[in-house]
Structures are given as structure tokens and as C-alpha cells.
Subunit: 240 residues, 4 copies
């Protein structure tokens, strides 16, 4: 199980930022520390915006079973060639977990085909994450609700395609609701979007969030060898 | 457009009840008065528990395009033969709108095949009804959110099959969420479950609720002549 | 992994029947022999119509993780109390695999809420079973198409609710198509309907069919302890 | 109802081609002639590759409620700026009907986020188009099956996201199956993919195909004014 966490790393690099204070090892570091005990068979690596190819070289992608993606400030600075390569790997079977503000990342928008727009408010709302699909593997061992004391609000309407499975719905103290955990399939790749998590709140230290992410990674693991999907001519009776 | 509203009528019959005060014409009367201007081509009739066959004789059902169902106290007093006839008509194409506590009505439970269980609290929560499917005909002209100042709380997990379309998600001031508007197809019948509405709150006087119900009725209208679905033997090449 | 195969056993009991010749150990015996090597951790038992409680006593059901159901001639002879118990166990989390003509069995019809009607023809059609959801665990290791040289035709329109996941679509030499592998969730129970298999064709000796059934059983395993779903009152702030 | 049919027009321009013989008015002409009597309130116009902006100028797109798209040879010659404009209009609410080989068109691939790959064979298969969703408005008045005497084969696996609604499944005389009619929502735009139709077969003269396309256009009509979906900050209590 080879996991790569892309974290753009922009907020962490700002001296004196709340992100730096909350996440001295980076958000990716907090995520890695949280999921590692739950995925003892996983090798976890880190990629960031300032690495060559943002750390997502063809070699790294070829060796990645599941890619987590955290981005916010620097969506536009991600190279389209890297995005193309990520999309191609998802189509081949790589799992993909876009996190929180990655709703507006290039790979997620291209895989969804929608605007991925939503409402938001950075005002320390309490978020409650309710399970609506209790038998889904991603919900295993997750309390309903997860209680997140402070968090950015993300609200409907969230412009995404109808999910394969809707697993979590959040409410916020301001009254908004949000489809906060949802799965999709694109090509042979399984995608799990999960919104809780923000650079200004300690959400990535929350053990229930670690559980959800670990479950999501395990669920998104490829089940087939990497396969390029193309459009072959099929002779009559080719299967006989 | 022939609409029948089944309302068990138990709460309204209790002298001095809050229901009697809120709904002097009955909840069915408030619903009928609210939707009539929005469905000028509709003939609306009323059926209740104490009528012979609960008002749902074969003749009435045969002349009903869409059946609304409000029940709460008297689910168990509904005759199974009437339930069978309602189910048969849904399978033939009749539209069906179970309302609020009808989540536990016999016809809805049988059409869903699940327990239809949920959490609840009668404590004057504010309910906000958010649209998550803005292009669905049932959402046309409906503000997001609908604001319902006082209402019983219905919360997840709501044990229903995955809906064909999830249209509304509610939040409550206590923090719970609920899939409050959802569609299903059973046989040739279209079903729209809508939870806002209660015998102790004036929800059925709310103009946005009238709009949703009118939209739901129009959406659930049969599109085919009544047809009994059976399992015919089909000779090879029967379609040629 | 505790698997129970209910096979009514009526066709096998008819002296000189084609079923007896094709399945000297019964269809359940052929299924058990086929899946056992693929599910080495499974304990497989058999239940039949003529057993007390059709072999599905409360004790047996309590000890069953996944129930397979084959029925055809004797749907109506299945005791409603046993059906109630099966449904209750599915709602609690037991997996359920209705096979072929079990589309018309009492438990499947009640869990679906539809008529479950379809077209059919017993005329030795070749059935090709195509995978349309290649990353689903039930499709793992299954060729597309599975080639079944002779089989009863089942054709659309198949009156089922929209499946959670549509995995297989079959074509028949007569030109018909059928949604032959589909999943549903009811309560906490996972359901997989798979149509290939008939008492007059040797389909249950087909290794690809064994693979699908073994995958389906593994997929339908309960992930939570048995839980009765009910409708509790939830005090404000109960989760804090 | 303002309908625009984009037809690249490459096959029709080849002197002596089978397309020219089958479709002296172009495939768009055959489609327009077929749907016009079924959509008496429609204004139908035509756009083609060799027009400035392929006939899809901002003005034309702004005046288009539903866009049909036929392309095959010249997918790569479609200007990305035009594709961007089409996508933006779909997100704003314009209906979109990609036809047959438009599975590989730029707009469809971008709206789906998948490879849109499939199997194919140009060998005069008979295609049978079966309805699996008989109450969907797109199936109204459509026989099941539609019989298309000669047609290119399109077969699974078709790499598309799980459709909102699967309406038609085709079989071919070679035994393959294909999800030939499926709907999607992207932004506020409704999308209906329909595969029957080819430049070398007279499918666009088939009255049942006309019926499906007319139904699809009516279904895909925008229900809201054109709206740009963006991500506004929402002050606490903004809705009160």
C-alpha cells in the first residue's frame, strides 16, 4: 500500500501563520502521523508544490496506489502536465482522495466535469459529520456524528455530479448542510472526497478524521493491475 | 389531475388538541387549500381512517393519479387489504407522496423494504430545508433554504434505500441532519417522500411547503396508462 | 464466515428430472462445492423447504452471515413467519443473495417493494454476462463476458428499484438484455441479486459463476454487529 | 425552445461517400426533419466545423437551450475555446445531447471526466434498444425494443461515470451489450447521451430515434435562468 500525500505547502511556509503553529510538521505530517497506525502496511510519502514536478514525477505516480491531495492557495500554479499525468493514473486505477479545499483543485474539477462550487464561511463553526451510509467500508468505526469543534463552513449547493455513494452529511452551527463525504469512480480509479480539514483549524489532528482517511485509502486501493482504457475494434465473436 | 389526500384524522378528532387549533380544516384541508392554486387542473379529494375502506375503495384508487398519505397514530389500524390495493396501484403507475410520519406507514415501509427508522425529537427545532438538486422539477421555485421556524426534529440515520434522487437535506437547530426530500420508483409508480410537516406545528400552512408538494404531485403524475406488470413468456423473436 | 444456502429442493426431488441428472448433489451441493475452494474460511450449510422452519430456524439465522436463496416452484409454500425472520436478519446486517428464479421469492419481493416481474423463455439461449462495473469487488477475477452456453432467458423490463450498483448486464441469443447482477442495501444488510443459474441447465457447475457467487458472499458479509434499527427519541445535544 | 445541432459535416463533404448518399441533407438535416414535427415549438439551427467558431459563437450559444453534438473524424479540430464556452453554457443550464461517436468529443469527455472508451465494430449488426426505465420522460412513446436493422456495434465496457438514470440498454447481433441511453447532470445542465446513429447507416431516418431525441431535448430544457455557479462567502445567518 503506497500512499502519496500532495500538500501544496504554501500556508505552512508563511512565517508566523496559524497553519505553522497548528501543524509544525505540515498538514501532510499530521495526516501521515494519524493514518500510519491505522494502515500498518502503508508506505507514506510526501509531495509538495515546490518539488520538481510538484513531487509527482512519472516515477512517483507509477509507484502510488492512492494519492491524497491538499491544495488551496496554489491551485493555478499546478502544472497542467502534472494534472494530465494524475488524471491518467486515476483512469488506470490509482485511488484519489481530494481533501477540503481541493474541491477547486485542477484534478478534482477535471474528474468531476462540474464547477465544484460551494458556499463557505471562515467563522469557527462547529461541524457535525453524520453518517448516512453506515455499512459503507469508509464509515467503519466512525462515530456519528463526528464532532469538530471549530471549522470553516462549507455549504450547499455543492456542484458535484451525483455521487456513487453519499456517506457523510455535515451540519454547521450556522445551519448550513454539506455533502462532506462522497465517492465517485472515473475510469478504473476510485475517488473519495472528504471536506473536513482546513489550514486554520486543527482538524487533521482529529482521530475520527484519521479513521475516515485511513478507511478511504483502503477503500480506494486499486483492485486491478494498471490498465490503459482505450477503444479497441472487436471482431465478431472475439470472445469465443 | 386527480389527487387524493389520505389523512388518518386522529389528531384532528381530539377535542382541544393543538392539531385542532392549528388545522381547523384538518391537515388535509390546509394542504388542499395550499396546493389548489398551484395545481388549477387538479381535483382534490380527501380520505380518512374512519371512512369505509379508509376512503380508499377500489373506485377511489382507480380514479386517483397521485395519493398523498399522512398517518401517525393509526398506522396499525390501516387494513392490510387497503394497503395491498394501494401498493398494486403504485405498481400500476399511481404517484405516491408519503408525508412526515408516514415514514412508518404500512404502504411506505412495504414499498421501501427497509425499517424506515430515524431519530426524532419534539422540541420546537428550527428546520432549514436545503436544495441539493436544483434542476429537479420538484425544486422549481423553492427557496434554499426553506425556513421552518418550529418543527419536530427528524434525524439520520434514516433507514431508506438509496433514493433515485436526493433533492432536499434538512438541518435542525439541535445540529441533526435529515434527507428530507427523496424520490423512488416502484413498478411504474413514482414516489416522493417529504418530511416537513407535523400535527403540532403549522408547517402545512407554509407557502414553500405548498410549492414543494404541488411540484411533487405534478412530478409523480403517471405517464403511462395503468399497467399490470407480470412475467410473460416471450417467444424467440416476438418483437420482430 | 457462516454461509447458509436455502434451496427449496423441489426439482431435485422429482424422480428422473433433468435437475436430478444435472445436480445429483442438488443445486446447493453444486454451489457449495464450487465456492468452498474460493472461500476457505467459510462454513457452508444447507436448508430446504421440507426442513422444520425450512431449515431457517432462529438459531440458524442467528448463526448465518450470508444467506443464499434458490426457489422456484414453492415460493408460496414458504412460511410468512420465516420470511419475517429472514427480513429482520437482513435489516440487522445479514447478507442476502437471491439467485435466478428467487426474483419472485417472498423475501426478495418484500425487500425490493416492486413486482420483480420480467420476461422469460426456456429455450436454451446462450447467455453472455458482461461486466459494466469492473472495479466492483464482485467483478474481481471474472471474465467479461462470462459465456453460458445454454440458459433460460430472462429479459427486461425487470421491475426492480434502481440498484445501488449495476455490475453485470446479460445478452441472450434471442436478442434480449437483462440486468443480471445488481446490489441493494436494506437496513444494514447487503443484497446481491444474480440471475444466471437454472434447474434445467448446468450453470451452477460453471467456474465463473462460482467466482461471482464467492465474491458476492464476501462482499455481503456484515461489517457491524447485528443491530436492531429502531426510532429512538434523541434529546437535544445527546451527542455532546 | 431553441435547439442547435452541431454536426462536424466531414463525412457529408466527402464526394461519393455513403454518408452523402444516405443523408443528402446531412445527418443534422435528417435529425432536424425528424424532430421538428415532434417539437412544434422548437427553432432548430445548424452549426458545423467549418463555420467561424464552428458555428458556436457566444451569441449562438447564448440563444441555445439545448445543443446536440455529432462528431467523429474531427474531434481534435474543435477549438478549445469553443469547448470552454460550451462547457460554461452547460454549467449555466444549457441542455446537451452528445450523439453516437460524440462519446469521444471534447465536450463530452470533459463533462464526464472519464476516458469514454468503448468497444466497437463496423459490421452491420442489428441493434435492439431496450427500455429499462419505462417511466422516464425520455422513454415516453418509445417501443421496447427499438429495432435498428443495421448499425455499428458499440460495446461494454463503456467508461462513463455511473449515470443519473440509465434508460436504454442495447444488444447487438454479435452478442455485445451497451448502455445506449443515459443521463447526467453537470452544473445546472442536463445531459443525455444516446448512442444509436452512425454516418454509414440510416439510423437518423428511424422514427423511434426521432422520438427519443425529441424526448431528450424536451427533458434537457433548462428550468432556471442561466446562472453562473461560483463560490460566495456566506455570512452567518445570511438567509434570515
Amino acid at each position: 500500500m503506497r500512499v502519496t500525500i500532495y500538500n501544496e505547502g504554501v500556508h505552512e511556509a508563511q512565517e508566523g501563520s496559524v497553519t505553522q503553529r497548528l501543524y509544525p510538521q505540515g498538514m501532510h505530517g499530521a495526516i501521515a502521523a494519524g493514518i500510519a497506525p491505522l494502515l500498518p502496511d502503508a508506505v507514506i510519502r510526501h509531495a509538495q508544490l515546490t518539488d520538481p514536478s510538484h513531487g509527482l514525477t512519472p516515477e512517483v505516480l507509477a509507484e502510488t496506489d492512492v494519492l491524497l491531495w491538499w491544495g488551496h492557495e496554489a491551485h493555478d500554479r499546478v502544472d497542467d502536465a502534472v494534472v494530465d499525468a494524475v488524471i491518467a493514473r486515476v483512469h488506470e486505477g490509482m485511488g484519489f482522495l481530494p481533501l477540503h479545499s481541493a474541491h477547486y483543485s485542477k484534478p478534482f474539477k477535471r474528474l468531476m466535469g462540474t464547477t465544484c462550487s460551494l458556499k463557505w464561511r471562515n467563522d469557527n463553526d462547529r461541524e457535525l459529520v453524520w453518517t448516512v451510509n453506515p455499512t459503507h467500508p469508509i464509515a467503519a468505526g466512525v462515530p456519528s456524528p463526528i464532532i469538530i469543534e471549530g471549522q470553516e463552513m462549507y455549504g450547499e449547493h455543492f456542484d458535484i455530479p451525483e455521487p456513487d455513494d453519499l456517506i457523510f452529511i455535515s451540519s454547521f452551527s450556522g445551519g448550513e448542510v454539506f455533502r462532506s463525504g462522497a465517492t465517485f469512480t472515473r475510469g478504473l480509479g476510485k475517488i473519495f472526497y472528504f471536506s473536513p480539514g482546513d489550514q486554520e483549524y486543527p482538524v487533521y489532528h482529529h482521530p475520527d478524521v484519521h479513521r475516515v482517511l485511513a478507511n478511504g485509502i483502503r477503500w480506494a486501493m486499486p483492485t486491478l493491475p494498471p490498465t490503459t482504457l482505450d477503444a479497441p475494434m472487436a471482431l465478431r465473436g472475439w470472445f469465443e
